[in-house]
C-alpha cells in the first residue's frame, strides 16, 4: 500500500509536466466537443485521434487520449440536458430528469449537478484504483458468463416496475426493445435473424439511432404541438448558478455514495457505464423520498446516473490495464493504443511499466480536476443556447441528429431509421407508452442474451448454473429482490396500516 503512494508521488511528477498539462487541457476540450456531437462517441473520438499520438511518448499519449475520454464523459451530459439527445449511451438516464429541469429554466443547475456528480464518481473510482488495484483485478476474474448475466438481470430488475404507465404498455415497450436488439447477426450461432433478406438490416438497430429518433426527434415534434412560441423558459444566465447548485448537492451524499459503489462495481466486472447509470437511477428513484417526483426534473435524478456512469467509466480502465480486457468500447480502443505503443496490458504492466501506469493514474486525478474546472466555466454558455429561438435551433438539431445517426455506422439508411423512430417516439409518448424500458432493452438486451446463452452452453443447458456459486447466487438474489421490491414494499405498507390485533 505504501509503495502505491510512493509510486503515485512519482506519477504526479510525470503528469504535472507542463507539456502533459497542456495535453490534458487539449484532450478535455476535444473530448467535450466529441461528447456533444451525437454519434461521435468517446470510442470513435479516441480511435480517430489515436494515430496522432504515435509520435509521442506512451505516457503523454495515454494522458491525451484518456483526457479525451474524460471530456467525452463530461460532454455527453450536455446535449442530454439541453435537447433530450443523449450523446452517449450512458447519458440516457441523465435525460430523464435533466431535460425536464432545462425545460423549466433550470438548465444551469442541471448541468452543474451533472458535471459535479461526474467528477465525484470519477474521483471515487480513481481513489479505489490507487488503493486496491490488484485486489480489484482479481475480483474481475471471477466474472464468467453466468455472473455477467446475473449483473444484467440485476440492472433490469432494479429499473423495471417503476413506471406509472399501464403494465401491458410497459411490457410491450420493453419487448419491442428486445426484438429490435435481436435484429442482425446472432452472436452465438452466427446466423442472421429478423433481417428478412434486407442487407440494410445486417447491422441491426443501433441503440444510438433509436435514442436520437425517439428522444431527440420525438421531443421536437412534441414541442411543435405547443406552437413555435413555446420553448420552455429560457434560462437566465447566472454565473453564480454553480455556487448555488453546489450548496444543495451535499444533501444527496447517500445517493452519491451508492452510485459511486454501483458504478465502480459495474465498471470493473465489466458491464460498463450504461447499466450502471440505469441501475443507479432506478435504485435512487425507489429509495429516495422524492422518488415520486423523479422524471419531472428532480436534481437527485441527475446526480445518481451521472455519478455512477463516471465511476464506471473510470474504473473500466482498471481491468483494461491489469487484465487486458476492456471494460468499455473506449477502453477497447485505448487497449489497441497500448499495443501500438509497444506496451502489453496485463498482469505484468504494473510491474514492468510502473512509471507509465502511475503516470496515468496521476493524470486521472489531475485530468478530472482540470476537466471539472473547464466544463463548469462553460455552464452559462451552454445554458444560453436555450435562448436561441426554436425556429433556428430546431432545424439545426435535426441536422445534428441526422449527422449523429449517420456517423454511428456510416450508413445513410440509419438516417431514415432515425426519422421512423422519431415518429414512433411521438406516437408512443402521446399514447402513454414509456420509452425508457424500450431503450434499456435495446442497450442491454444483446449483452444479456449473449451472457445467458454462453452460460447455458457452459452448463450444457442447465439453468442451475445461475445458482452454482456464492457470487452468482448473491447477485441473482439481489436481482430477484429488486424485481419484487414493488410487491415487497406494498406488503410492508399493508402490514403497517393493518391494525394489530389486540
Amino acid at each position: 500500500m505504501f509503495d502505491n503512494f510512493l509510486n503515485l508521488y512519482h506519477g504526479f511528477g510525470i503528469a504535472a509536466d507542463p507539456f502533459n498539462i497542456l495535453l490534458m487541457v487539449i484532450g478535455i476540450l476535444l473530448g467535450v466537443i466529441i461528447g456533444v456531437l451525437p454519434g461521435l462517441g468517446g470510442a470513435n473520438g479516441v480511435a480517430i485521434l489515436l494515430p496522432l499520438t504515435f509520435s509521442m511518448s506512451p505516457t503523454s499519449a495515454i494522458i491525451l487520449l484518456s483526457c479525451i475520454y474524460w471530456g467525452a464523459l463530461f460532454g455527453g451530459a450536455i446535449t442530454s440536458v439541453l435537447f433530450n439527445i443523449p450523446g452517449e449511451p450512458w447519458s440516457v438516464a441523465t435525460t430523464f430528469d435533466g431535460h425536464p429541469m432545462a425545460r423549466s429554466g433550470r438548465a444551469g443547475e442541471a448541468l452543474t449537478a451533472a458535471f459535479t456528480s461526474s467528477f465525484v464518481g470519477a474521483f471515487f473510482a480513481i481513489i479505489m484504483i490507487t488503493l486496491i488495484a490488484p485486489l480489484v483485478a482479481q475480483f474481475a476474474l471471477q466474472f464468467g458468463p453466468a455472473e455477467k448475466f446475473a449483473v444484467y438481470f440485476l440492472a433490469f430488475a432494479s429499473f423495471v416496475g417503476m413506471s406509472k404507465e399501464p403494465p401491458a404498455k410497459t411490457v410491450v415497450s420493453m419487448m419491442i426493445g428486445f426484438a429490435l436488439a435481436c435484429v442482425g447477426l446472432d452472436m452465438v450461432t452466427g446466423q442472421l435473424r429478423l433481417t428478412f433478406g434486407f442487407t440494410e438490416l445486417l447491422n441491426g438497430f443501433d441503440f444510438l439511432i433509436a435514442v436520437i429518433g425517439l428522444f431527440g426527434i420525438g421531443e421536437i415534434l412534441l414541442t411543435m404541438e405547443e406552437g413555435l412560441e413555446f420553448r420552455g423558459k429560457a434560462a437566465k444566465i447566472d454565473p453564480k448558478v454553480v455556487w448555488k447548485t453546489w450548496k444543495t448537492l451535499p444533501r444527496f451524499w447517500v445517493t452519491s455514495l451508492r452510485s459511486c459503489i454501483i458504478g465502480c462495481w459495474m465498471g470493473i466486472t465489466p458491464a460498463g457505464a450504461t447499466p450502471a447509470s440505469f441501475m443507479s437511477y432506478g435504485i435512487a428513484k425507489r429509495v429516495s423520498k422524492n422518488g415520486k417526483n423523479f422524471g419531472n426534473g428532480e436534481i437527485e435524478g441527475v446526480v445518481a446516473p451521472e455519478t455512477a456512469a463516471h465511476a464506471a467509466g473510470t474504473s473500466a480502465l482498471l481491468p483494461m490495464l491489469a487484465l487486458g480486457v476492456p471494460g468499455s468500447p473506449t477502453a477497447a480502443v485505448l487497449l489497441g493504443g497500448l499495443l501500438i505503443w509497444g506496451l502489453q496490458p496485463g498482469p505484468m504492466l504494473f510491474v514492468e511499466q510502473s512509471e507509465f501506469v502511475w503516470g496515468l493514474i496521476a493524470s486521472m486525478y489531475l485530468g478530472n480536476v482540470v476537466g471539472l474546472a473547464l466544463v463548469l466555466t462553460t455552464v452559462p454558455l451552454f445554458a444560453a443556447i436555450l435562448r436561441i429561438p426554436f425556429s433556428i435551433i430546431a432545424p439545426v438539431i435535426l441536422v445534428i441528429c441526422a449527422i449523429g445517426a449517420y456517423t454511428v455506422n456510416n450508413n445513410v439508411f440509419d438516417v431514415l431509421m432515425m426519422m421512423v423512430f422519431g415518429v414512433l417516439g411521438y406516437l408512443l409518448k402521446k399514447t402513454n407508452y414509456p420509452l425508457a424500458p424500450l431503450v434499456l432493452a435495446i442497450v442491454l438486451g444483446p449483452s444479456a442474451e449473449e451472457a445467458f446463452r454462453q452460460s447455458l452452453l457452459t452448463s450444457g443447458g442447465s439453468v442451475t448454473i445461475f445458482w452454482s456459486n456464492p457470487l452468482v447466487s448473491t447477485i441473482m438474489g439481489l436481482g430477484l429482490l429488486a424485481g419484487l421490491w414493488p410487491l415487497v414494499s406494498l406488503l410492508l405498507a399493508k402490514l403497517r396500516t393493518t391494525p394489530q390485533p389486540a
Binding site: A47, P145, L202, A332, L339, P347, L349, N410
Partner: protein, 336 residues
C-alpha cells in the same frame, strides 16, 4: 483544436524529414481525395488495430499524398463492410482490410459477396493461432492435454473463441477431429475477453492469436501448448523465463494435425485499374520497411509472408477452397 493540428503537423514534418528517403517515386496514379479504409470488424479488434497502425504509419512517414480514413463497418460479421466495397465499383479511393470473415461470412450467413467481387491488392501478413491453457492446469504439453480430453466424456472440456462459425470455431472443429472427442465451443465477442475468461478459469482452453494472449503469458497466467502452423515461429525474444515464441512446438509435431493461418490482406472495389492496384501495392511495400511495422509483427508473432498479384490470387483461391471444405465438414454452411 488549432494547437492539436499544429502539433500533429509538427510531429509529422519532424518525422517526415527522416522518412524523406522513403518518399514515393512519382507514381503514375495517385489518390486525389482521402482514401477510405474499411474495417469489416468492430473498433478495438485485431483487424481494427492493424488498420489504425497502418493509418498511423502512413501518416507518420508521409507515404500517401492524401489522408487514409479508417471506417468500421462490422454489421453481419463484416458483411456490411464487404458489401459496401463491392458496391463501390471503380472507386480507387477505397480499400478494405480482411480477416477470415472474407471467406466465412458469405458461407455461414448467405450474405451475397465473394472475394471475386473485390480486387485483391496484397497480403500484408498471416496471423498465427496458438492453443492456450491456464498456467495453473497440470498440462505441460499438447499430448497431456489431449489425453485429459480423451479421458472424459464428450463436451466436458470447454474451448472459448471469438465469434461463431468463424476462424476460432473452425480450428476447434478441426482440433476435435484430430483428437476424436467433442469440446464445448463458447463464442465471445473479442479475443481479449476470451483470454481473460481463460485466466479466470471459466473455459479450459482457447485458440487466441499471439497478440491477444501474450501479456497473460508473460504474467504466467496462461501457457501456450502448440502453434497451428507447419513450422515453429521465428521470434526468439524471451517472454517468460527462457521461453520465447520459437520454443512453442507445432501442433502437428505433437500429433494434432491442424494448421490454420488467418489472412490479413488488402482488397479494393471491383473495376479499378491495374495502375491503381499497383499504387497501393507499392505503398504497403514501403509500410513493411518501417520500424513500426516490424515492431508490430514482432509483438504479435505474425507470419510475415507478403504476396501480391497472381501469386496472391492463387493463395486466396486455395484458402477459399480450404474454408469451404472445413465449413462443409463442420456443418457451418448457411442452409438457404
Amino acid at each position: 483544436m488549432k494547437h492539436l493540428q499544429a502539433f500533429g503537423l509538427g510531429a509529422v514534418t519532424a518525422l517526415g524529414m527522416t522518412a524523406m528517403s522513403m518518399l514515393p517515386a512519382a507514381a503514375a496514379w495517385q489518390p486525389t481525395r482521402p482514401v477510405e479504409f474499411i474495417v469489416p470488424a468492430g473498433t478495438g479488434g485485431g483487424a481494427d488495430q492493424m488498420a489504425r497502425t497502418l493509418q498511423g504509419i502512413i501518416a507518420k512517414h508521409d507515404l500517401m499524398p492524401t489522408q487514409l480514413v479508417v471506417i468500421n463497418k462490422s454489421g453481419g460479421a463484416g458483411g456490411e463492410g464487404f458489401l459496401d466495397v463491392k458496391s463501390s465499383k471503380g472507386n480507387p479511393h477505397k480499400i478494405v482490410i480482411t480477416l477470415s470473415n472474407l471467406f466465412t461470412t458469405p458461407l455461414a450467413t448467405g450474405i451475397p459477396f465473394n472475394w471475386k467481387d473485390l480486387t485483391p491488392v496484397a497480403m500484408l501478413a498471416l496471423d498465427e493461432f496458438v492453443l492456450w491453457v491456464n498456467a495453473q492446469e497440470p498440462y505441460k504439453t499438447v499430448q497431456e492435454y489431449v489425453d485429459a480430453i480423451k479421458a472424459k466424456p464428450d463436451g466436458t472440456f470447454k474451448m472459448g473463441g471469438t465469434g461463431s462459425k468463424q476462424e476460432d470455431q473452425i480450428i476447434t472443429v478441426a482440433f476435435q477431429k484430430a483428437v476424436g472427442k467433442k469440446l464445448t465451443y463458447i463464442p465471445y465477442k473479442g479475443g481479449g475477453e476470451v483470454a481473460v475468461q481463460l485466466v479466470g478459469g471459466h473455459i479450459n482452453s482457447s485458440v487466441n492469436n499471439p497478440i491477444e494472449a501474450v501479456s497473460q503469458w508473460r504474467g504466467d497466467k496462461l501457457r501456450p501448448l502448440c502453434v497451428f502452423d507447419e513450422k515453429q515461429l521465428p521470434y526468439t525474444d524471451k517472454i517468460l523465463g527462457d521461453q520465447s515464441w520459437s520454443s512453442i512446438p507445432t501442433c502437428k509435431s505433437a500429433g494434432v494435425d491442424v494448421e490454420y493461418l488467418m489472412l490479413r490482406g488488402i482488397f479494393m472495389p471491383p473495376g479499378v485499374s491495374d495502375e491503381q492496384v499497383a499504387y497501393f501495392v507499392d505503398v504497403f511495400k514501403k509500410v513493411r520497411e518501417t520500424p513500426e511495422w516490424k515492431q508490430l509483427m514482432k509483438d504479435g508473432a505474425f507470419n510475415q509472408s507478403f504476396m501480391a498479384g497472381d501469386e496472391f490470387k492463387a493463395w486466396i483461391e486455395q484458402a477459399e477452397a480450404n474454408h469451404k471444405d472445413l465449413m462443409q465438414e463442420a456443418g457451418f454452411i448457411a442452409g438457404n
